[in-house]
């Protein structure tokens, strides 16, 4: 479905959407597992869009820094994502850059903050971080 290169970019993007701090980042917390589960189900129709968007981020990285997105520093990655969110991209995108970033943010939040049965939020890590306690 995704090339190894695309998966690398996706992992980097997920970890900028929900970056590691003293709590795990999105990828470690299972957002990738959530996404790949959803790519077989509700987000099946979005796989093409994801591929296009990840490739476009890669092209932006090459144009701006002459290096792949996954190789950039966190600050450089954030800058490219912010530019895409504002629509100020340097290369030609086959999809709307702000919409792609909004979609990424929503899907990453779904994987991080929804119930672990959806594939992410490993061991309720996001709930423990924010202080949501399930009783009963």
């Amino acid at each position: 479905m995704f090339s190894e290169g695309q998966i690398e970019i996706l992992q980097a993007v997920v970890n900028r959407m929900i970056p590691p701090d003293d709590w795990p980042g999105g990828w470690e917390a299972g957002v990738g597992d959530y996404l790949f589960r959803q790519f077989e189900r509700d987000l099946k129709g979005m796989v093409g869009l994801y591929q296009q968007g990840l490739d476009a981020l890669e092209a932006e990285a090459q144009a701006a820094h002459g290096a792949g997105f996954a190789r950039l520093s966190a600050e450089q990655q954030d800058m490219l994502l912010m530019q895409a969110e504002r629509g100020t991209v340097q290369t030609t995108w086959p999809l709307d850059p702000p919409n792609f970033i909004t979609m990424l943010a929503h899907h990453c939040a779904e994987g991080f903050y929804s119930d672990p049965d959806n594939g992410g939020n490993r061991d309720q890590i996001a709930w423990r971080m924010i202080g949501f306690e399930v009783r009963g």
């Binding site: 779904e110 119930d115 959806n118 924010i130 202080g131 949501f132 009783r135 009963g136």
Partner: protein, 540 residues
């Protein structure tokens, strides 16, 4: 004609469930037919992305997302979990299975909106043909028979109750104590939100365990008084009620004279079937009830049963929910469910220059992903370190004040039939068009400011608000599409909720509401259904 049934009831939700219970206990042989299935607590589950509160990818209590489309004015064909569909749950108990169970009586003024405020140009605002006093005994009956907790003496916006609630309110949460201080500082009325939830053991079922998955989900201990565990259970144990699930009614059947004889439906295996009865009660919810009547054309009523005055499907109403979200310095959330516990009815009426008003209350427990999608401050980045930090620091420091606004109905906000689009059975689907009246938006803007004042007085250090723009609402509070009235030219049912021009066809759901007032409508739907069913038992 002898049939196995005296009464057929279409739809086992708030209205149909109550009607089935009242009629079966009165000795009538009842067929209760429901398009959804009976769902266990485990089947409804706790999926944070597929529930009645956030239906991002589906629903936990029906209907199935495939095979049940509706169409919208912009040409879109939408599935039940998608925006604009106006879904209500499809299962035994329907929306009551997954509701937050707020148990409000409408106010006396709510039955006389046109007389009190006049009729704004372009609106179909009208008085009900009955008054609060007509309905009050049924409110009381429902509060005791189905079970409401609350403090009747705090309901100072209403005439004095004849009986207290059968159960005391749930103890207040930390958040409620903060919000109550705000109301006290403002000198506004405050009251514990009345709930159709057992605060103490009642009717042989236990008390609420204060879990976090109340609204949008089923109750793990059956402390939530939905119609499935109350009136439908009583109907079934009487031996007089047959419950048929997974069955979709296609149309009402009639004799040569246009008199209703029963129903034609698809059973759970998709096979066509028919059933006859002396009386038919339609309680499928405001959208599906209108759809069924409109899909049941006869030579006498070529535009649908009850629709010779072109009223069926019009005046569709739900509720606008303006909100003010407040950030506090200290944590205010303690995760004691269901979460909604403090309200004010200070602004339901008597607001200068506003038609009606709204109730305000603190919100149910907001699940983390719903918080992320709906309650973050507008100036916060949607991703990155700052977003994560805000969630981490403030998820427990935020409260949401919101509440339903009195919608001013428009005849153009309506349900019609789309003959070009069919559901999985081949039945033409509901088409939704129009909006509420612009006066509703004005009221919502007014109420946003009141919610902001409340948050300020409670000590919020940052407040952000949301006032909805002009749109069509309905959803779980859907109402108005078969309005009640004495004049057949301007209404669909009479004061006993009998369809004009018919002697044996009744409606028992929110469709009959002339106006939907500024409260969650379920207690009124139940009370009206009780009144209608009692009337049917007496005259048939």
């Amino acid at each position: 004609m002898t049939t196995p049934y005296d009464v057929i009831i279409i739809g086992a939700g708030a209205g149909g469930g109550v009607a089935a219970g009242v009629l079966a206990l009165a000795g009538k042989r009842v067929l209760l037919i429901e398009r959804g299935r009976q769902l266990s607590f485990e089947e409804i589950g706790r999926d944070h992305l597929r529930n009645q509160r956030l239906s991002q990818y589906g629903h936990n209590a029906g209907p199935d997302i495939d095979g049940n489309p509706r169409t919208l004015e912009d040409g879109r064909i939408v599935r039940p979990h998608e925006p604009g569909y106006q879904n209500n749950a499809a299962t035994v108990g329907s929306g009551t299975r997954v509701y937050g169970a707020q148990a409000w009586r409408f106010m006396p003024q709510d039955f006389r909106m046109a007389s009190l405020y006049g009729v704004p140009a372009g609106s179909s605002l009208a008085d009900w043909p009955i008054s609060y006093d007509d309905l009050a005994p049924y409110y009381e009956r429902v509060e005791w028979e189905i079970g409401v907790c609350g403090d009747h003496q705090a309901m100072t916006h209403l005439p004095a109750y004849n009986k207290p609630y059968p159960m005391p309110p749930l103890p207040p949460t930390t958040k409620a104590q903060v919000q109550r201080r705000g109301l006290a500082a403002l000198g506004w009325q405050f009251l514990p939100v009345p709930l159709l939830i057992n605060s103490i053991p009642y009717n042989d079922r236990p008390a609420c365990i204060r879990c976090q998955h109340c609204v949008g989900f089923a109750c793990p201990v059956d402390a939530k008084n939905d119609t499935q565990v109350t009136m439908i259970a009583r109907a079934l144990s009487s031996g007089n009620c047959t419950l048929v699930t997974g069955a979709m009614v296609e149309r009402l059947t009639t004799d040569a004279g246009g008199r209703v004889t029963g129903i034609a439906y698809f059973d759970a295996n998709g096979n066509r079937a028919e059933a006859q009865a002396e009386v038919v009660v339609v309680s499928a919810g405001a959208v599906e009830t209108a759809r069924l009547l409109l899909n049941s054309a006869t030579p006498q009523e070529p535009n649908g049963i009850g629709n010779n005055s072109d009223q069926v499907g019009r005046h569709l109403q739900g509720h606008y929910y303006p909100r003010a979200v407040g950030l506090f310095e200290q944590p205010v959330q303690d995760w004691l469910g269901p979460g909604a516990s403090t309200a004010t009815c200070q602004f339901n009426h008597d607001n200068d220059g506003i038609i009606g008003g709204g109730m305000l209350a603190d919100e149910f427990i907001v699940l983390p992903i719903i918080f992320w999608k709906r309650l973050l401050p507008p100036d916060l980045p949607r991703w990155g370190a700052a977003n994560k930090q805000f969630m981490r620091d403030n998820y427990r420091r935020v409260t949401d004040i919101t509440g339903p606004v009195q919608e001013i109905p428009s005849p153009d906000g309506r349900v019609t039939i789309n003959p070009k689009v069919k559901d999985r059975y081949g039945i033409p689907v509901a088409h939704l068009s129009g909006t509420t009246h612009p006066e509703t938006v004005r009221t919502a803007q007014f109420m946003v400011e009141r919610a902001r004042e409340w948050q300020q007085a409670a000590g919020a250090v940052k407040i952000w608000t949301n006032a909805p723009g002009l749109h069509l609402s309905g959803g779980q509070h859907q109402a108005g599409t078969a309005r009640m009235g004495d004049d057949p030219a301007t209404s669909v049912v009479d004061r006993w909720c009998k369809v004009h021009g018919h002697d044996n066809l009744y409606i028992a759901d929110g469709s009959v509401h002339v106006t939907n007032c500024c409260f969650n409508p379920v207690l009124t739907i139940m009370s009206m259904a009780w009144r209608t069913a009692e009337h049917i038992a007496q005259v048939w």
